[in-house]
């Protein structure tokens, strides 16, 4: 894409999110002259965002694939013709990641925050309150030396608590 540079990714990179990232770029760069690129890149981005938010359906995958084919083969210039490439490539080599987002509502790389569940393992938690202090939204409650709990409605999944916990008591899934 674009610069021709090389990007190294590992299991902490969500491939659906990578596609969404690239589409965000092309959608912003679309000049608006031809209909497939103007309208199509926006709709591809919307579908990818929907999947990242855990609201994707199996039909969305079909629509996305069809959109990619059409935008790639009918757009007026190179931008529209290459815009679907990140989606097509990730669909080809990492289809299981898309399916995990859609069917299991899971993002195994832990990138798509809407799909994350941050939980505290009561057996491992020593009740040190470090996590309570570091949480920016006050989502973690608990008394000293007793296991803490996270309120998922308040948690923004920033994972700051996970980084700070010395006992590995906080996990995402």
């Amino acid at each position: 894409m674009g610069s021709g540079g090389l990007v190294v990714m590992d299991e902490d990179t969500c491939m659906v999110d990578v596609a969404r990232y690239f589409l965000h770029f092309t959608q912003e760069e679309s000049c608006g002259k031809c209909a497939p690129c103007r309208e199509g890149t926006m709709r591809m981005l919307q579908i990818l965002e929907k999947i990242c938010d855990g609201k994707g359906t199996p039909q969305d995958l079909d629509t996305l694939e069809s959109l990619c084919r059409v935008v790639k083969t009918t757009s007026l210039c190179g931008l529209g013709q290459s815009a679907p490439n990140p989606v097509l490539a990730t669909l080809r080599y990492f289809r299981s990641e898309y399916e995990a987002h859609i069917y299991d509502k899971k993002c195994h790389a832990g990138v798509c925050t809407e799909l994350l569940d941050i939980t505290i393992n009561a057996d491992k938690c020593k009740g040190c309150t470090v996590c309570v202090d570091v949480c920016p939204t006050g989502a973690i409650k608990g008394e000293r030396k007793k296991p803490h709990v996270i309120d998922p409605a308040v948690c923004i999944k920033c994972q700051a608590c996970m980084v700070k916990c010395k006992f590995g008591a906080i996990s995402r899934g």
Partner: protein, 575 residues
């Protein structure tokens, strides 16, 4: 011209070299859908609806923009072609209001037509409408930016054909919009209200500002006497709207239809077209004989007048001071005609039926109150009259004929010519020649100023007085002639300008949608009607003679000047 052989859907066909795939498919009898393509415009290739499969090409190719090459193998029905077309339609529809039932273009919308042909029954994408506000600023044209599909046809017509550039593109990508220049309201832009963009638009994003409801109110008001004038170019278009050839509808049938709709008195703009010729011929001779400003430009076309006011404010002395036939009629109907008919002018509601959107603007110009009332109370376009007739279930072709009301409805062949580009010039020449030479003209037809050529010119010898004339249609051509006049290099004495391609027969208020082929056909019908008239010279019109004898010359002072002439003013122009 040599031929190129191509294979379309298995059919071998030879087409002229340089043709596009779209033209080749048409020759083979295969229809390819288009949205941004317009036969009278340059290829834009931005809607991508016309894509086809070409052997050896990875991507689908736009049929409008791809030139054929020898041995090309084209497939217009491949599944990926159909998938692409349907997908693009779905994408456009998901970004377009779904109110087709009450859209001004419902039933004649190109997007609706193609979507129906491609069986697009639902969209897989959530509906996204920006909910932009409608632009009602112009007295002639309404813009609904929500319906715009960004095909660019209006922009090309405004920028290339008319050189007005009132419309342009703003923003990018999904946020792209067609906007009046620098994002102003249309009326504040340099728009001259010719209405050609209405014909260019494939959907309902630009439409005529309709006033049919106000007309029905006036008709039902017992205190109002609704008097109407019909313009020369209207009849042919109404006939076409009812599926007949132009010459099949008789003027008398149209009178019957309008009476049925509830109009009280039906008169003819052709009468004041003859009057315009009388006044304009007089003015031209005065300018020639007394070294006045030459060339003199006609001033019948309100879009052209506004164009001159906006773009050439320092050259306005070149414009004839004569009002247009519509406004001459307006000034006379509430003075002369009211007197003759014995009707209180205050009760008269003067309606004109015009092929033109700019006439709506002309009628509301503040100076057009010389009869002490609004000279013309309402202007209806042909498009609106056709809608009213259809709403009322009246097909004028099935009606008997009725006579026009007297005093302002007699007309000659010259008046009929006003409908076609070059017609005012031809009509004026007939009268000017006879005035100068004092002898009847042998040949009435000035064929040099006829036809669809952009600028037509002729040289006429009148007893040794050489008069060079030109007639131009579209404002890009008008600009060429006005530039010459402003620079003092114009070789002409008299120039006719019509803003719309083909003249009034191709006006912005005519039923949708127009192509130049249709305009050329209407032009021929105009010349046929001229030939069929017993009187073909404006100065032979009996009612005109009566008007001068009984009214214009009878009163002391300058009644003719007050009622029939006007002044022009500098109009605000955007940077």
């Amino acid at each position: 011209m040599s031929e190129t052989n191509v294979m379309i859907n298995g059919i071998k066909i030879g087409v002229p070299e340089g043709a596009s795939i779209l033209q080749a498919a048409e020759a083979a009898g295969i229809k390819i859908p288009t949205l941004c393509f317009h036969p009278d415009q340059e290829v834009k290739a931005n809607c991508r609806i016309c894509v086809v499969e070409v052997e050896g090409q990875k991507n689908l190719m736009p049929a409008c923009a791809t030139k054929i090459t020898e041995g090309m193998v084209i497939n217009t029905t491949a599944s990926r072609v159909l998938e692409a077309r349907r997908m693009i339609l779905e994408l456009i529809l998901a970004h377009h209001p779904q109110d087709c039932l009450h859209c001004a273009r419902g039933g004649s919308c190109e997007l609706q037509q193609i979507s129906s042909e491609y069986d697009v029954r639902f969209s897989r994408f959530p509906q996204e409408n920006a909910e932009l506000s409608l632009d009602h600023s112009s007295p002639s044209i309404v813009r609904d930016p929500n319906k715009c599909i960004l095909c660019g046809r209006c922009i090309e017509c405004c920028t290339e054909t008319q050189t007005v550039s009132a419309l342009g593109l703003a923003h990018r990508g999904f946020e792209s919009q067609v906007v009046p220049s620098i994002g102003q309201d249309l009326f504040e832009s340099p728009c001259v209200m010719c209405g050609q963009c209405i014909h260019a638009c494939p959907v309902g994003a630009i439409s005529v500002r309709e006033q049919t409801d106000d007309l029905l109110d006036a008709i039902t008001d017992p205190d109002k006497v609704v008097v109407t004038q019909i313009a020369p170019a209207v009849r042919l278009a109404i006939a076409e709207a009812f599926g007949a050839a132009g010459d099949q509808l008789l003027m008398g049938q149209l009178v019957s239809a309008l009476k049925m709709l509830g109009f009280d008195h039906i008169l003819h703009t052709n009468f004041t077209a003859d009057l315009t010729i009388m006044e304009e011929a007089q003015e031209l001779l005065e300018r020639i004989n007394h070294h006045g400003t030459l060339p003199m430009f006609t001033s019948c076309c309100p879009a052209w007048v506004r164009f001159a006011e906006v773009f050439y404010p320092s050259s306005l002395e070149h414009l004839s001071t004569c009002k247009s036939p519509q406004q001459m009629f307006g000034a006379l109907v509430k003075t002369y005609w009211a007197q003759k008919a014995g009707i209180d002018p205050e009760r008269i509601f003067s309606v004109s039926i015009m092929p033109c959107t700019a006439k709506k603007y002309e009628a509301v110009r503040p100076e057009m109150i010389d009869s002490q009332y609004a000279d013309v109370d309402m202007v209806l376009t042909t498009h609106e009259i056709v809608r009213l007739l259809k709403m009322a279930g009246i097909n004028p072709l099935n009606l008997p004929e009725t006579e026009f009301d007297p005093w302002m409805s007699e007309y000659t062949g010259s008046a009929v010519l006003f409908g076609a580009s070059g017609g005012v010039m031809e009509a004026a020449l007939r009268t000017v020649c006879e005035k100068v030479t004092g002898k009847p003209l042998e040949k009435l037809d000035f064929v040099e100023v006829r036809g669809m050529k952009g600028i037509k010119e002729a040289t006429v010898d009148m007893n040794g007085t050489i008069v060079k004339v030109a007639a131009a249609h579209t404002l890009s051509k008008a600009r060429v002639l006005m530039e010459q006049a402003a620079a003092g290099t114009s070789p002409y004495h008299f120039i006719e300008i019509m803003a719309c391609p083909g003249g009034c027969i191709g006006g912005g208020g005519q039923p949708l949608t127009l192509s130049n082929t249709q305009r050329a056909r209407r032009m021929n019908d105009i010349y046929t009607e001229d030939r069929s008239r017993k009187l073909r010279k404006s100065h032979e019109n009996h009612e005109i003679k009566l008007l001068y004898d009984d009214f214009l010359h009878e009163a002391p002072g300058h009644r003719a000047h007050e009622l029939l002439h006007t002044k022009y003013s500098l109009k605000k122009k955007n940077p």
